[in-house]
Structure formats: structure tokens, C-alpha cells
């Protein structure tokens, strides 16, 4: 848990303009009021179960297990959620909270478009106005999700500043929020930004490990040895880890996007290549140059293409409780194809980073070991981009 100033060890805090301070204080007060409120939790659970299709399955990937010949592999199927990813968990929680706070408008950043689609969905459901900021580059590589958001009634604003990707979309959201605070909630999509966002998003995503813990105990009668999840800002990873943090025997592994490799500049592997800094409202690790200028990161995965990582992950790294590995574009694309062919599950290219590490790790482990790999989203949105990566031209 963070301390009273929103710190996880060294990391976290509230590095934002004075204009936004009362907004985050108001949010913290509202969250503290509602988080243990039985009525709020009942409504949220109902939304999770009746609307989003939870609990998500914990699926034994038998063919993959046998093929890799080592640890027993389970997939936590967040790809089966309504809207196709774990993002809906956080969004339903925040939208419900925003509604209780009397807000009528949601703004959100999005990288791959999954968080934008989830936010647009919740806004449609709750009858709220919705504006999604998305980097111009991402709008192009995730055109289908742009259309989905518009279909759901959201305005999509392409962001052309900077690298025109996720970090610029976050910056633009922060700018927009300082312009219009009264009726607007910033529905931040990851465990990042100023306190209390890393805690709020973590709590709403913790449903992933709350379920998987109960599911694995029921299926195997014991806890897993490894939990793997892809990690950009880190929301599905923290959700996958959270209820195991106290269980020392459970190895927690976050899989970062190495892009073209951590020895190149075309990478987004923050823990592996970044250093301590202050950006987007938080102290954490960031890819940056010697003068603190934020690096123009790269990954094939728009959802992991971010130069920072959430403060709780930074602290889990510092304390050694979790380990963060880097997976290249090539490895992720291979895993994307492998899981599709082996299990008939097309994972999001983000999630494929976790699958890729499972493919490396599982064969090195004994058959009595158990591994849970979170499939954070489904890969339909990525098919055109992966086809292009393989030199196949398809019309979406």
C-alpha cells in the first residue's frame, strides 16, 4: 500500500500543476469514501459479472504445456471480457466513481485503443460524454479501435505533438483536464500518474488476481509458482500480481517491451533501460536522456509503447519482489502466432510479450511447477499490423 502521501517506497507522489491539486484531492476523498461502501461494491460487482462477463476463465493450456514440456501453464483469460481486455475492470470502477462524484464527462488517453474503447463503452452505458486522446501514429496502427470508439459515441482526438503515441496522449489529457475540471473525470488507464490514480487503478484491476488465486486453489489445491503479465504502465500486471504479493513463493514477472532490443534506442523497456525521474505526475523509472528529456520510445505494441512504469512496479523492482524482463518485437510476434496456432487463442500483441517469456521459461522448469500467464486482451485489433510485420498486405 502507498503511504499517506501516495508513495510506494521512493516512487509515486503528486507532481502535477497546482490547477489540478484540488481535483486529485477530491478524487482521493471520494475514493476513500466509496471503496469500502457496500452499495458501491455491490454495484461494481454486478457490472463486472452481468455486464463485463466476469469472472474471466483460468484456462489450462494443455497443448502449450505439453509442447513446451515443462511447467504447467494456465492462461488468465482477460481477453474474454466485454470490450476484449482487462481495461474494462478499471473503467467500470472509475466511471461508477465519477458518476457518484457528479461528473458527467470522461476523458481518457489510449495507446492501443483498448482503454479508449473501454472508456467509450462505460460512457455509453452511464450516459456520459466521452473524449479520447490518441496519438496520431496509434490512430493509424489501430484504426479499427478508432472506429469502435466513434461507434460508441466518443470523440477521438488525434494527438500530433511529440512522438504522437501514448505518452503524448497522456500529456494531452492532463492539459485537457486543467482546462475543464468541474464536470470532467480523467479516467486514467494505467497504474500511473499522480496519487491516487496508481492505487485506484490497482484496486480495480486486483480482481484479476483475486479470481485467479481462488481459481488455482480450486483447480490445483495450491498457489502458482510463477505469475507472468505484460507490463507497460503496468495495470494488468499489477492486477495479476496484487493478491500474491504477500505469498513469497510466487514469482512475479513483468514482461516489458524491448522493441528492437534493449541495446537499441528503439525500445520501451523502462525497468531494463530507464532511470529514476519525475514525469506524468509521478516519481518512477523513465526512459530518458542524460538531461532528463523523455525518450521517444518504440514498441510494435502501441499499448506498451510508453517511456515510464507505474510507481508500485518501480518499488516491486527495487525491493526485488517482482522481476522485469524484456521481450523484443520479434519474440512477441512469434508468441502471437504460436498461441494462435497452439491453443486457438489470438492474444493482443501486448499480452504476447508475456506469452513469449512463458515460452522461454516454461521449458526450463519441472513439470510439477505451475505458471499463470495473463492474456490481458484479445488480438483481433492487431491482425492487420502483424500481417504487415510479416509482409502480408490485408485490407481491414
Amino acid at each position: 500500500m502507498p503511504d499517506s502521501k501516495g508513495r510506494f517506497g521512493l516512487h509515486g507522489g503528486q507532481y502535477i500543476p497546482e490547477t489540478l491539486m484540488n481535483a486529485v484531492i477530491e478524487l482521493e476523498e471520494a475514493y476513500n469514501h466509496y471503496k469500502d461502501d457496500p452499495e458501491f461494491n455491490k454495484e461494481l460487482t454486478e457490472l463486472f459479472n452481468e455486464y463485463a462477463g466476469r469472472p474471466s476463465n483460468l484456462y489450462y493450456a494443455e497443448k502449450m504445456t505439453k509442447d513446451l514440456g515443462g511447467a504447467k501453464i494456465y492462461l488468465k483469460r482477460e481477453d474474454l471480457n466485454h470490450t476484449g481486455s482487462h481495461k474494462i475492470n478499471n473503467v467500470l470502477g472509475q466511471a461508477l466513481l465519477a458518476k457518484k462524484m457528479g461528473k458527467t464527462r470522461l476523458i481518457a488517453e489510449t495507446g492501443a485503443g483498448q482503454h479508449g474503447v473501454a472508456t467509450a463503452t462505460a460512457a455509453a452505458l452511464f450516459g456520459m460524454e466521452c473524449v479520447v486522446f490518441m496519438g496520431q501514429v496509434d490512430c493509424e496502427r489501430q484504426a479499427l479501435n478508432v472506429y469502435r470508439m466513434k461507434l460508441l459515441g466518443a470523440d477521438v482526438v488525434p494527438v500530433t505533438s511529440g512522438t504522437a503515441t501514448l505518452k503524448d496522449a497522456v500529456s494531452e489529457c492532463m492539459r485537457e483536464w486543467t482546462t475543464r475540471i468541474d464536470d470532467t473525470h480523467y479516467c486514467l488507464g494505467s497504474v500511473m500518474g499522480p496519487h491516487p490514480f496508481p492505487t485506484i487503478v490497482r484496486d480495480f484491476q486486483a480482481v484479476i488476481s483475486r479470481e485467479s488465486r481462488a481459481q488455482i486453489l480450486e483447480k490445483e489445491g495450491r498457489l502458482p509458482d510463477y505469475v507472468l503479465a505484460c507490463c507497460g504502465g503496468g495495470s494488468n500486471a499489477i492486477g495479476s500480481f496484487y493478491n500474491y504479493i504477500g505469498d513469497e513463493g510466487v514469482h512475479l514477472i513483468g514482461c516489458e517491451a524491448a522493441g528492437r532490443g534493449i541495446d537499441t534506442f528503439e525500445t520501451a523497456a523502462t525497468i531494463n533501460t530507464g532511470k529514476l525521474g519525475i514525469f506524468h505526475g509521478m516519481k518512477s523509472y523513465f526512459c530518458q536522456d542524460e538531461y532528463g528529456q523523455i525518450a521517444p520510445v518504440y514498441s510494435i505494441s502501441a499499448g506498451l509503447d510508453y517511456p515510464g512504469i507505474g510507481p508500485e512496479h518501480a518499488n516491486l523492482h527495487d525491493t526485488g519482489r517482482a522481476q522485469y524482463v524484456a521481450i523484443t518485437d520479434d519474440e512477441a510476434v512469434n508468441a502471437f502466432e504460436y498461441l494462435s496456432k497452439t491453443e486457438g487463442v489470438i492474444p493482443a500483441i501486448e499480452s504476447a510479450h508475456a506469452v513469449a517469456y512463458a515460452m522461454k521459461l516454461a521449458p526450463t522448469l519441472d513439470k510439477d511447477k505451475i505458471m499463470i500467464v495473463t492474456i490481458s486482451g484479445r488480438g483481433d485489433k492487431d491482425c492487420a499490423a502483424i500481417a504487415r510485420y510479416r509482409g502480408v498486405n490485408i485490407n481491414e
Binding site: 503528486q14 502535477i16 497546482e18 491539486m21 486543467t178 532511470k275 519525475i278
Partner: protein, 258 residues
């Protein structure tokens, strides 16, 4: 009393801002010379940051041009040294940049160097009251003023911020990011009254001010006026020929508020 506070002793203060390194640091230095010559009281030197979340498009684009042109924190320090030792600039100078620029340089190393070269303070728009101690403790050690900001949304936070402020208080005139506005709708008079009832530290208003008329109206409520984007726009328009135009503009504002 700090040099910054002293700059408010001769009538209303005018505080122009400039993005360092746009189009190059020589031009920036000449602009600052012109600012002093035409009556600026304090000058705000923007050290460019890659992702300036409190800025509108004008300063954002200028920052990007400066960084693309090779401007770095060390090169800005070298320019400051020239301003103080060769170019005769004696008015107070404050850095305006983002937390990560100072943090990555090393807060202590940054402050020590700034003081050594004759800088008087700094403004970090992404360091609010809750996070200031980490920076302010070292600023105090080197006798630098860490300027506090107060926004239209600050409300009950005003007295808490104002009582710990030093140098001057930067009153943010409007919601949103920096940039020229045709109209400022905040009740600036009420905001200034609230600040003044909590502290004797002088206050200056910035965000959205561009014309002499706006500056004159703002100066009625506050001790000083800050203009950023309007000046950065002039630099963008005239490039290396900007210094004379910037000087002329500064004079028009100084005349309007005196």
C-alpha cells in the same frame, strides 16, 4: 530581502518569459539584453523540456525547436554565465522548467550551479505544495527562491501556499495551459485579494496575457505581470531578428503597466 522581492519595489513589475535555445542561445541572450534595456524587472528563462504538460502549443513547439537545435541544460547555464559576465544583465533571472530537468541533473548540483552563475530562483509548474520540500530545502540552502503557483482552483489552499512562498507568487490567471487568450474570465481581483490577505510576498499574474490593455488591467490587481507565449510567438516569427522586436514589445507592456 531577495533580489526577486526587490524587483517589485519600483512600481509594477513586468516579467517576460523566453524559451531558451529557440531559435538558438545567442538569439535568446540578445532577447534578454533587450528585455532588460526596455524595462523588464525580472526575466523568466525557460529550459526546454520534451513533454511540457503545463504548456500550450506555442511554448510546446518552441521547446521542441530548441531541443532539436541541440539546447541542453548545460548550454543554458553557459548562456546565463555570459549574460552575467559579458552582456551586462543585472536584473533577476529565474528558471522556469519541469521537475525532471532539475531532478535528473541532480537537485543539489543544479541549484549550486544556478546560484554560482547568478540565477535567483526557479519555477517548476509540476511541483505543487505537496511535493515542494524535496526541491525547496536545497533551494533555500543556495538562497534561491522556489516560486509558488496559485491557480483559480486553489481556493482553501491559498493561505497554506502563500504563507510559505518566497520571491513572488505566480498567480495563474486561467484554467488550462499557457497561451494567448482573448479574454480572461477568472475573477482575478478576488484571487489577488485572497493571496494578499495571506502574505506580503508580491504577486504577479501570468497565463493568457498578451496585449498592453490586458497587462494594464491585470496590473491593477497584482504587483506584476508575466507574459510568455506572446513573446515566444514573436521569436518564432522573427527568428534571429527577434531581439529588436522583443524589445519593442517589452517596452509596450512596461509603458502600459507603469
Amino acid at each position: 530581502m531577495s533580489n526577486i522581492a526587490k524587483a517589485f519595489e519600483n512600481g509594477k513589475a513586468f516579467i517576460p518569459f523566453i524559451t531558451c535555445g529557440d531559435p538558438d542561445l545567442d538569439t535568446t541572450a540578445q532577447c534578454i539584453v533587450e528585455m532588460q534595456k526596455n524595462g523588464a524587472s525580472i526575466v523568466e528563462l525557460g529550459i526546454p523540456f520534451s513533454d511540457p504538460t503545463a504548456e500550450g502549443p506555442v511554448i510546446m513547439e518552441a521547446s521542441l525547436r530548441a531541443l532539436t537545435g541541440g539546447c541542453t541544460t548545460d548550454k543554458v547555464f553557459e548562456m546565463v554565465k555570459r549574460l552575467r559576465t559579458e552582456l551586462g544583465v543585472t536584473i533577476p533571472m529565474v528558471f522556469m522548467t519541469y521537475a525532471n530537468v532539475v531532478f535528473s541533473y541532480g537537485i543539489e548540483r543544479f541549484c549550486q550551479k544556478a546560484k554560482e552563475l547568478g540565477v535567483d530562483g526557479m519555477i517548476l509548474p509540476d511541483v505543487p505544495y505537496e511535493e515542494k520540500d524535496e526541491f525547496d530545502a536545497i533551494c533555500k540552502k543556495y538562497d534561491l527562491d522556489l516560486i509558488s503557483l496559485i491557480a483559480p482552483t486553489s481556493n482553501e489552499r491559498i493561505s497554506m501556499i502563500a504563507t510559505e512562498a518566497s520571491g513572488f507568487i505566480y498567480i495563474v490567471s486561467s484554467l488550462g495551459v499557457t497561451g494567448v487568450r482573448s479574454k480572461i474570465t477568472t475573477d482575478v481581483a478576488a484571487l489577488c485579494t485572497a493571496v494578499k490577505s495571506a502574505t506580503n510576498v508580491p504577486c504577479a499574474i501570468g497565463f493568457g496575457i498578451s496585449t498592453p490593455e490586458q497587462a494594464a488591467a491585470m496590473a491593477k490587481n497584482a504587483d506584476g505581470v508575466i507574459v510568455g507565449s506572446a513573446i515566444v510567438k514573436i521569436v518564432a516569427q522573427y527568428g534571429k531578428d527577434a531581439p529588436a522586436h522583443v524589445g519593442e514589445y517589452v517596452k509596450s507592456i512596461v509603458d502600459a503597466i507603469k
